[in-house]
């Protein structure tokens, strides 16, 4: 059993390594190996879920007083999360086989995909924070590699860099948080592990709410980076430069959800009662809420099909963070679980559309896809419904949970959440109306035809999950925190239904059969379209705060430290030397006089100074 668990890590790593080292030239073999491994770990995961497991570990770094472990924490939380990762992962691999069929660097792509599977598995199964951090950074790397898959494109290369750097900023806080938490929890080897932390806090220890709160907030900074919460959200939309299956897997379903997963882990380890009393933790749901609101507003005016989905992802991640922040990790994780399926579905659907439309991504240049790609259209529509929380789809159940949580804890956030739900319906239906219905508006879209079986299988499989993953038997057994849905009739339900209706109505009103965007000239819409100018602001920040400061420091460094300070010493020595050589005038009488002076000094020093 232990070995089987290790295989979850070993197989993808092995696959990534062999592809990189040996199989680069055999493109198709690489693709198949990678896919086979993804399938294999899906099976292992299913097997592990259905059996009793014990945690395993080995020592990674042994020091006299402390030991850092690589350990697998095989509780059902992790195992079920693994199901999401491997399930979506395997389907994306399948989809990629078709989608990347003609790519010249297929091997590199699948190698990176395997590397991602390896890293993501590591995050999910990590038994301690150090290990989680290790894999946390590694998913960042694989994300970097995959976003920059088409690195010859300036925009792709820049987006990859941006993603990595933004995540680094998050990780900066994450690491500090880990270190502080480690210190607060006793500074022992155990204090790094989740088990150790929960044991420590069960014992009702003495700690400062301020510093523990700070630690939690700093750890949350890591989640902000990875789960793209404002103000570190800017990388995610840009990350859409990567191949679309990657967007589905990494930037929608799994990696970006890792932040939520990690926060849930943290909250469960420390205990929500302890967390509640800490300093500053109230900011967390607000950050989630604001992110979801901003992202939803931005999404309403995007024209790129992937960008719309990306902002929608941001918005949904904000939901999840909000739920966790409101001390209801269950709701957050449930939404993570359902969202993974239907968002992957939407992305793969958009991938199919883009593939069919010869890499056209602007929805205004599509239209009437329903008649050309009927199956895709149906699956995409079901995904849309699930995302909008149409009753009895997966999204309905999980969104309900979040609204419920907000309702009980924070009224303002509940209003925001409801409004976001309304916006979600609005922009998704806008997308659907423009791209799939109406009239065909471009030649590329005109030539579109239904994609092949290899792409349809994942779509259909995900459609099933998008429909049913929220239902009690599935949710209770397979979602990470075993969420069972209880039906409450109350404000949350009304808000949910109402916002769906309002959003759908306005979308229909404005965009059904629209030829061009009726809001194109609206000033407020323009702000939304330009993402509140946050990217521009950051670009200025980088230019002035970082590059300009760097230039100034470099200048001072060369001038003052290199030139004056040290050069000054040698010049001073040389100057004194020149004074001494000036005494060496060559004139005999001057020498004799100096002799005389010297004699007087020496006699004075010898005889008269005591």
């Amino acid at each position: 059993m232990d070995t089987l668990a290790w295989l979850l890590l070993a197989l993808p790593l092995l696959s990534a390594a062999t592809i990189h080292l040996g199989l680069k030239k055999l493109q198709n073999v690489s693709a198949l190996v990678s896919t086979a491994v993804a399938g294999a770990i899906l099976f292992i995961t299913i097997f592990l879920i259905s059996s009793e497991t014990t945690d395993v570990s080995f020592s990674w770094a042994t020091l006299p007083d402390i030991e850092i472990e690589i350990g697998l924490k095989l509780d059902s939380f992790a195992k079920n999360m693994m199901l999401v990762v491997t399930g979506v992962g395997f389907l994306v691999h399948l989809f990629s086989l078709a989608y990347m069929k003609d790519d010249s660097a297929k091997a590199r792509y699948f190698g990176a995909l395997s590397l991602f599977m390896f890293s993501m598995t590591g995050i999910v199964l990590a038994s301690n924070f150090m290990m989680m951090f290790v894999f946390w950074e590694l998913v960042g790397l694989s994300s970097y590699l995959l976003i920059g898959h088409w690195y010859e494109k300036e925009s792709a290369a820049d987006a990859a860099k941006k993603a990595f750097l933004t995540n680094r900023i998050g990780d900066f806080g994450f690491m500090i948080g880990i270190l502080m938490l480690w210190g607060i929890a006793g500074g022992t080897s155990a204090a790094l592990t989740f088990d150790g932390i929960s044991e420590f806090f069960v014992g009702k220890p003495e700690y400062s709410p301020f510093f523990l709160g700070t630690a939690v907030l700093l750890i949350f900074m890591g989640a902000m980076g990875k789960s793209a919460q404002a103000p570190l959200h800017v990388w995610l939309p840009d990350a859409m430069e990567g191949p679309t299956p990657v967007s589905a897997l990494i930037h929608a379903a799994t990696m970006v959800a890792a932040g939520v997963f990690m926060m849930a882990r943290l909250y469960l380890s420390i205990g929500t009662e302890t967390i509640e009393a800490l300093w500053g933790v109230n900011t967390i749901p607000w950050i989630g809420g604001i992110t979801s609101l901003l992202a939803a507003l931005m999404a309403t005016q995007q024209d790129d099909i992937k960008k719309i989905l990306a902002y929608s992802t941001l918005s949904q991640l904000g939901y999840m963070v909000m739920a966790v922040g409101l001390l209801d990790p269950n709701a957050g994780m449930f939404h993570l679980f359902t969202h993974a399926w239907f968002k992957a579905l939407l992305f793969l659907g958009s991938g199919a559309v883009i593939y069919a439309c010869h890499h056209e991504q602007n929805i205004w240049k599509m239209g009437d896809l329903k008649s050309k790609m009927p199956i895709t259209t149906v699956t995409f529509f079901i995904g849309t419904l699930a995302l909008c929380g149409f009753p009895l789809t997966a999204g309905f159940f999980s969104k309900e949970g979040i609204l419920e949580a907000a309702l009980h804890k924070n009224m303002a956030l509940f209003v925001i959440a409801a409004f976001v739900a309304c916006l979600t319906t609005f922009y998704m239906f806008r997308l659907f109306f423009i791209a799939f219905l109406g009239k065909n508006r471009s030649e590329k879209a005109g030539h579109a035809k239904e994609v092949g079986v290899l792409m349809l299988i994942p779509l259909i499989a995900l459609t099933v999950m998008a429909l049913f993953s929220g239902w009690n038997p599935i949710g209770a057994n397979l979602s990470p925190l075993h969420n069972e849905f209880y039906f409450h009739f109350g404000p949350a339900l009304i808000a949910s239904l109402l916002s769906f209706a309002i959003g759908a109505f306005f979308a229909w009103k404005l965009y059904f059969n629209a030829e061009k965007d009726p809001l194109a000239d609206n000033k407020i819409a323009k702000i939304f379209r330009n993402k509140f100018y946050i990217d521009e602001f950051y670009a200025k920040l980088v230019t002035y705060l970082q590059d300009a400061v760097a230039a100034v420091i470099h200048f001072i460094d060369e001038l003052v430290i290199g030139g004056l300070l040290v050069g000054g010493f040698s010049r001073a020595a040389g100057g004194v030397g020149r004074i001494f050589t000036r005494m060496q005038s060559g004139n005999l009488q001057a020498y004799a006089s100096l002799f005389g002076l010297g004699v007087i000094i020496v006699i004075y020093l010898t005889v008269f100074v005591s």
């Binding site: 040698s570 020595a573 040389g574 004194v576 030397g577 020149r578 001494f580 050589t581 005494m583 060496q584 060559g586 005999l588 020498y591 004799a592 100096l594 002799f595 002076l597 010297g598 004699v599 000094i601 020496v602 006699i603 020093l605 010898t606 005889v607 100074v609 005591s610």
Partner: protein, 480 residues
């Protein structure tokens, strides 16, 4: 054989060679140098058989025979041998500025004079009475006046000679005046007796006399404030003379200084003041020597400043006479001088070789040596490294012992000045290395070194490296 016969032997050898010189054909004058080398080598052999002149009562009053005397006698002999060897390859240049520029005709006396100077130095090594000290010191100095001004068709040499003469004579004046005061205060000229008769009352007069003698000795070793003659005289004098001055003359100056200072250091009345004044001289000398060397562009002049700087380090070791360290002041001085002997002669041999090629003593003459004669450049690098005091060369241990002794005596200020000096030393010594390797020369023709010079340089460098790994042999010689 009584030890004082050695000096007599060397003087006699000098006179015999001087007479022989008159009968030698014009082209064969270099034979005098060869014979001189032979005579000195034989003297070195005799040194091993020498014994104390104990049965001679008058002699024992003036003449010391101990390990210090033995060491400095051997040192003088070896320095004479090296100088004469250097002359062999330098004699063409020497001859160029004499009465008969095209022949060796007027070079013969030069070699003999070196023998006389060596004899004087050997006597200085043993002088333990102010009278014998004065006479032997003057024997050396007067000989050196001639040696410096020997190239009498060369303005530089003459100018150097006059400067040396006048300033040297001033220093002689200080010496005798100082001696007279010490004599006045104690009523004796014997150094041993000075220590015995020292008391609180006469210590002021004694110190006055000591100050004057110190001035004169500072002149001899080239310490501040009497260092002013060094750069000019070193630069103007014929290169063998410069080498001889900077090694042998300096060493005998230190030999005398050790003898003169001994009673003052070892008597509790004057120990503190003596330490103070010597330490002040040491600090000032290190500082001036090293810093003034930085702007130099002439290699010979650079070596002159370097010799001032080295005198400062030796003075530092002497100032630490009453140090808690393991080595006596004599041992520190002796070790430093031995190392200095190797490095300085190697440097002057190199300088002579470069001079013969380019006719210039400037540092610029070294440019491109790295490609024009890689072997010589390599050896030069080691020598320069040793002068700068790099470890794994003998030069490091010289400075190390001096510093160690000074640390034992807690002379913190001179020590810090010493480190400033070493740092500055890196700066100017490496200018040579920079010139050799990094700069392109206008000339590309290979630099030819005569085999004799080359082998001497190689042996000296070999010793520098060997002693850098294993310095114990010199300490054995010094009786540690």
């Amino acid at each position: 054989m009584p030890a004082h016969w050695l000096e007599a032997y060397v003087v006699l050898a000098g006179i015999v060679l001087l007479m022989l010189e008159a009968f030698l054909p014009r082209k064969e004058k270099f034979l005098i140098a060869c014979l001189g080398i032979g005579a000195l080598v034989f003297g070195l052999v005799l040194l091993f058989w020498a014994e104390a002149p104990e049965n001679n009562k008058e002699m024992t009053r003036f003449y010391a025979w101990d390990s210090q005397a033995k060491f400095f006698k051997g040192f003088a002999l070896l320095a004479g041998i090296m100088t004469l060897t250097l002359c062999l390859d330098y004699r063409k240049i020497l001859a160029k500025f004499t009465a008969n520029p095209d022949s060796d005709d007027s070079t013969g006396e030069y070699y003999c004079l070196i023998l006389f100077a060596v004899a004087g130095m050997m006597w200085m090594a043993s002088a333990k009475d102010l009278v014998s000290l004065f006479v032997s010191l003057e024997l050396t100095t007067i000989t050196l006046y001639i040696l410096v001004a020997y190239m009498r068709r060369n303005v530089g040499s003459l100018e150097a000679g006059v400067k040396f003469l006048i300033l040297g004579a001033i220093s002689t004046g200080f010496l005798v005046y100082g001696i007279s005061w010490i004599y006045g205060a104690t009523g004796t000229t014997s150094l041993a007796a000075i220590g015995e008769t020292m008391s609180e009352e006469n210590s002021t007069f004694l110190l006055f006399g000591l100050a004057l003698i110190l001035i004169s000795l500072a002149f001899k070793v080239g310490a501040v404030p009497m260092h002013l003659w060094i750069p000019d005289v070193y630069q103007g004098a014929p290169t063998p003379t410069t080498a001889f001055l900077s090694v042998a003359s300096k060493a005998s100056g230190f030999a005398v200084a050790l003898r003169v200072l001994q009673p003052f250091f070892e008597n509790s009345i004057t120990a503190e003041k003596t330490t103070f004044i010597v330490a002040v001289l040491a600090g000032a000398t290190i500082l001036v020597g090293n810093l003034a060397a930085i702007p130099q562009t002439n290699f010979k002049r650079l070596l002159a400043y370097s010799s001032i700087a080295n005198a400062g380090f030796i003075l530092l070791g002497i100032a630490a006479w009453n140090s808690k360290g393991d080595l006596s002041a004599f041992q520190v001085t002796g070790f430093y001088l031995s190392v200095y002997f190797l490095m300085t002669f190697a440097a002057f041999f190199i300088l002579a070789a470069i001079h013969r090629d380019s006719g210039s003593d400037e540092i610029a003459a070294f440019e491109g040596l790295g490609t024009r004669n890689p072997a010589l450049a390599f050896l030069t690098t080691i020598v320069i490294g040793a002068l700068a005091g790099l470890p794994l060369t003998a030069g490091f241990f010289g400075k190390l012992f001096a510093f160690q002794a000074a640390v034992g005596a807690s002379l913190w200020i001179p020590i810090s000045l010493g480190f400033v000096g070493v740092a500055a030393g890196f700066f100017y010594y490496f200018k040579i290395i920079r010139a050799m390797y990094w700069r392109k020369s206008l000339k590309t023709s290979p630099v030819k070194v005569r085999p004799l010079s080359f082998y001497v340089i190689a042996v000296l460098t070999g010793l520098i490296i060997l002693l850098g790994f294993f310095p114990q042999p010199i300490l054995w010689l010094l009786g540690a």
